[in-house]
């Protein structure tokens, strides 16, 4: 447990460094869903930035992932349903965990605090309900 917390803090520190540098150098809020939109959905000039960010994200994750442990992913249909809900939700809320729960809270946005409390609550309720089934 202590080791898990230590790695969570280190990982969080790196994520904070990424989000902080992105704002200091590029002047933009680092939101994964927003960047994904500028990559897949909207064709805007910042697409190059998004493309390189995602290239880095894939390399960084592959590089540092513990290869001795496999991921426990849900079945393909369940993944598809969850992905659809996540896609619709983050587009309507204009942000996900990175944009609202990290960047938004870091700059004291009330909107992000509300969004974070809501999605944390519904996520926890969903997990509780699905465990009962």
């Amino acid at each position: 447990m202590l080791r898990d917390i230590l790695f969570a803090l280190i990982g969080g520190g790196l994520i904070g460094l990424a989000a902080g540098l992105f704002f200091l150098v590029n002047g933009r809020i680092l939101g994964i869903s927003g960047l994904a939109q500028s990559l897949f959905v909207r064709w805007i000039p910042q697409t190059a930035e998004a493309l390189l960010f995602f290239a880095g994200l894939l390399i960084g994750a592959a590089w540092f992932a513990d290869s001795t442990r496999t991921l426990s992913l849900a079945s393909a249909p369940r993944l598809a349903v969850a992905g659809l809900l996540v896609g619709i939700g983050v587009r309507l809320a204009n942000g996900c965990t990175s944009g609202h729960a990290v960047c938004g809270l870091a700059r004291g946005a009330t909107r992000s605090l509300v969004a974070t409390l809501v999605f944390m609550a519904t996520a926890m309720m969903t997990v509780a309900l699905l465990t009962l089934l």
Binding site: F22, L52, A65, R78, V86, A106, V114, A115
Partner: protein
């Protein structure tokens, strides 16, 4: 200055991916454990937010004092103050999806490089984003 922005974007991606992998946020089982407050709750992932927020805030503080970004690009303006049904409804739907599979957008995309079985999630997420966009643009 374009070069600086491009290189920084790659670096930010590397740091973010490394952070997700080291914290194990890329593993849905770990995330579901964090969300499972009524069962076998594993609060350790709380450390991610606890560390990420102050570090990010420090950089925001420095950037705002400078008034302009290091690349010369203007800083993104203050956050919107609008709290409406769209924000709350969207966040609620996102949370249900997050709790269903233990994946939010960052880890889901990062997992493409770790375990390709995550692909149905990512495809459906992009479809969902497009669908929500069409819905928003439709005349009312």
């Amino acid at each position: 200055m374009i070069m600086l922005r491009v290189l920084l974007s790659l670096l930010a991606g590397l740091l973010f991916g490394a952070g997700l992998a080291l914290s194990r946020m890329i593993d849905p089982a770990k995330v579901l454990g964090f969300l499972d407050i009524t069962g076998h709750w594993d609060p350790s992932l709380g450390g991610v937010m606890a560390a990420a927020i102050p570090v990010t805030a420090l950089f925001y503080f420095v950037a705002k004092r400078r008034g302009v970004s290091l690349s010369g690009a203007s800083l993104s303006g203050p956050p919107s103050r609008v709290i409406d049904a769209k924000l709350i409804g969207g966040a609620a739907v996102f949370g249900i999806g997050w709790g269903t599979a233990g994946l939010c957008p960052g880890p889901a995309i990062a997992d493409l490089a770790v375990d390709i079985r995550v692909l149905p999630f990512v495809i459906a997420m992009v479809v969902g984003m497009m669908a929500a966009r069409l819905f928003q643009q439709s005349p009312r």
